[in-house]
């Protein structure tokens, strides 16, 4: 009976495209994002839809959006990385120190060389910090939330120790490109975010590592029993998160033209918020990059639009929270938002 069977008991799934779209939370989120964009465009067309506003949005969101990608990666395994902001700032400070202390006032090719070195150093910091987190979670068995809470304090703490808490500034011009430059007219931060999001989506869907991350998040015990290399996979996840965080750190440094231990402190909760809003299951096993990208856009459209409408800067936070809770309620109780009541599924 283990020979190939002729009859095929596995019929391929063929529900209509529309039905599948309506059932997916990414599709619901896409609708919300488009509605937000349309609403803001309608309320303040000449300003919200202006090229200037759209480019300024494109410069603003990538730094925290990249942190949200890092959060997505760890949340997929049922973990979380609360140390991303700490890693970002520590990486930026290391890079900034190299640029100010060693590169001095160099120009041109020299400056570029020093900048390359500083970027490499920042990425190495992200890698080592991520490795540290990975060892805590995968080898020592700490709950991710506590491991990264503690390590986040340690990383931020080192950033304070290195700088005494003050900002490091005075970089060569080349450092400004990544945060403020344009490629073919497109803001570099946006290009960077696009590349990273695409890369993460690719890794998650097209590599063995990506599939293992999702299965591990769905049931770590079953993953172990299925001979998935759980420890190595988890370590790679936290290293990936650390490196993404250090890239965000370089971006923040470039945009602020300085590095400081307490930059982006509001980004931590924001990154968690975006990941959850994007449909990533905080208990692991489910999440798609496209959802996270949509969530980032929805957030950015909302806050920029409200800015245009002269609403205070702080209303962003309020709106973010409301949006998060709203989406969670929609996902938990879709029946509340259907006009035609369907009989409950048996």
């Amino acid at each position: 009976m283990l020979e190939k069977a002729n009859d095929n008991p596995l019929r391929p799934a063929a529900p209509s495209l529309f039905a599948r779209l309506a059932a997916s939370q990414e599709a619901r989120l896409a609708v919300i994002t488009v509605l937000v964009f349309a609403l803001m465009g309608a309320l303040s067309p000449e300003r919200f839809l202006s090229v200037q506003n759209i480019t300024s949005m494109a410069f603003q969101f990538p730094e925290f959006a990249i942190l949200a990608l890092a959060m997505t990666l760890t949340m997929l395994t049922g973990g979380i990385d609360l140390s991303v902001v700490g890693i970002a700032n520590l990486s930026a400070i290391i890079a900034a120190t190299i640029l100010t202390q060693l590169a001095g006032g160099t120009q041109g090719a020299d400056a570029l060389g020093w900048y390359a070195l500083s970027v490499a150093a920042a990425l190495a910091v992200g890698l080592i910090a991520g490795l540290f987190n990975g060892l805590l979670v995968a080898v020592l068995g700490l709950p991710a939330i506590l491991a990264t809470l503690g390590s986040g304090l340690v990383f931020s703490g080192f950033a304070v120790v290195l700088t005494g808490g003050s900002a490091v500034m005075g970089f060569p011009e080349v450092a400004a490109f990544i945060g403020n430059g344009r490629m073919l007219g497109i803001p570099v931060p946006l290009v960077l975010f696009g590349l990273l999001a695409a890369a993460l989506a690719f890794v998650l869907s097209r590599t063995a590592f990506g599939l293992k991350v999702q299965m591990l998040g769905a049931n770590p015990l079953a993953a172990r029993f299925a001979a998935v290399d759980v420890t190595a996979t988890l370590i790679k996840v936290y290293v990936g998160s650390g490196v993404l965080a250090s890239i965000a750190g370089l971006l923040i440094m470039s945009r602020a033209n300085s590095a400081k231990a307490d930059y982006g402190s509001s980004y931590l909760l924001l990154a968690v918020l975006i990941a959850v809003l994007g449909g990533v299951n905080p208990y692991g096993g489910y999440g798609r990059v496209i959802g996270v990208v949509l969530a980032v856009l929805a957030m950015q459209f909302l806050s920029s639009g409200l800015n245009m409408l002269q609403v205070s800067n702080f209303s962003r936070e309020l709106i973010w929270g409301v949006l998060l809770i709203f989406v969670m309620i929609v996902n938990a109780r879709p029946d509340l938002f259907q006009f035609k009541r369907r009989p409950p599924a048996a």
Binding site: L136, I145, L153, V154, V161, P282, I319, G321, L324, M328
Partner: protein, 333 residues
């Protein structure tokens, strides 16, 4: 049947944390004999007032198997709104009215968490993350962003009420405000609820096994709702005390502390998985954090290292039991 006899378990946080505290104090006393003094103690106690109330609240939620990160926002919202409300409407109300209003407002905000968690069955971390943004965003958008430097007289008076007052040999003053009694009160009331009422035992039961609690007929929804309302009221109280002691209501204060508070509670032995947590452990956790904050310099570590030290303490305090549990699991077949 034979249960393992009682012996000191060196990986229990309730044992480890006091040891670290004693070692810290011994080291501090060695490098600066004046460390062991009343002013150090009153500084420690004063530093624990607000943090202690927060920690008790956070512990309660952890015991029930949830997590709350919104309590700092509730506190900030409450202290700022109460100060503004009293200043504009009823500046002559006494201090206890301010506290009453603050706790009621906190309870109301807590009930929003309760409705979302109990009514819609949403995960506690996500809900409180959302309400953290909502409460803070609402306050800063619609209530105000400027510090209130002139507090209502009731709150000012409360901030000036001192239990203990004294003069150091060098002529400086030390003191302990009556607000400390509020923290003691919170501890006593919470202890009573947790250990002397069926409600409290139900909180432990729910944290131990939600499904079993449902099956034996514990009113899980009412119990959870109570927790978030009570935590809200405690946060409100902490907010009023914070601004009274600081003599200013700064809307940007407090938020950002939430993770450190949870860290202190976990350091004290509460588990994120629910069902476990003691007031003693929690208070020891708070004491350790406050000690590191206040007195790191005394043992010769520059103040800039404070964050690193607290981070390492959290990693050690949670890492040792986790590592021990992992090894025990490997030994058992």
């Amino acid at each position: 049947m034979q249960l393992s006899s009682l012996r000191i378990d060196w990986t229990r946080n309730e044992t480890l944390v006091p040891l670290v505290i004693i070692a810290f104090c011994a080291l501090a006393a060695f490098s600066d004999p004046s460390f062991l003094s009343i002013p150090t103690l009153t500084d420690l106690l004063r530093g624990s007032i607000v943090l202690g109330i927060f920690a008790v609240a956070a512990m309660l939620v952890l015991i029930s198997g949830g997590i709350d990160v919104s309590f700092t926002a509730v506190a900030a919202f409450t202290m700022y709104s109460t100060a503004m409300l009293l200043n504009t409407l009823a500046p002559d109300l006494p201090w206890y009215a301010a506290i009453g209003i603050g706790m009621a407002m906190g309870a109301a905000l807590g009930s929003i968490n309760g409705i979302l968690i109990v009514g819609f069955g949403l995960p506690t971390l996500i809900v409180t993350l959302g309400t953290l943004s909502i409460f803070r965003g609402f306050m800063l958008t619609f209530i105000g962003q400027k510090q209130i430097t002139t507090l209502p007289p009731g709150m000012r008076e409360f901030g000036r009420m001192m239990m203990i007052r004294g003069t150091n040999p060098d002529g400086s003053f030390y003191s302990l405000p009556w607000a400390f009694a509020a923290t003691v009160g919170v501890i006593v009331v919470t202890w009573f609820i947790l250990h002397k009422t069926m409600l409290g035992r139900s909180i432990f039961a729910i944290g131990g096994s939600l499904e079993s609690a449902r099956r034996i007929g514990i009113n899980v929804r009412a119990t959870q709702f109570f927790i978030y309302v009570y935590v809200g009221a405690l946060a409100g109280l902490a907010g009023i005390i914070h601004s009274s002691m600081a003599r200013v209501a700064n809307p940007f204060d407090l938020v950002g502390l939430e993770l450190s508070v949870i860290a202190a509670v976990v350091l004290g032995g509460a588990r994120l998985t629910g069902g476990h947590g003691t007031l003693t452990g929690t208070l020891l956790g708070v004491a350790l954090i406050v000690l590191v904050r206040n007195s790191l310099v005394v043992i010769g570590v520059p103040a800039t290292w404070q964050m690193v030290v607290i981070g390492l303490l959290i990693l050690i305090g949670t890492g040792l039991p986790a590592w021990q549990a992992k090894r025990a699991a490997a030994r058992a077949a």
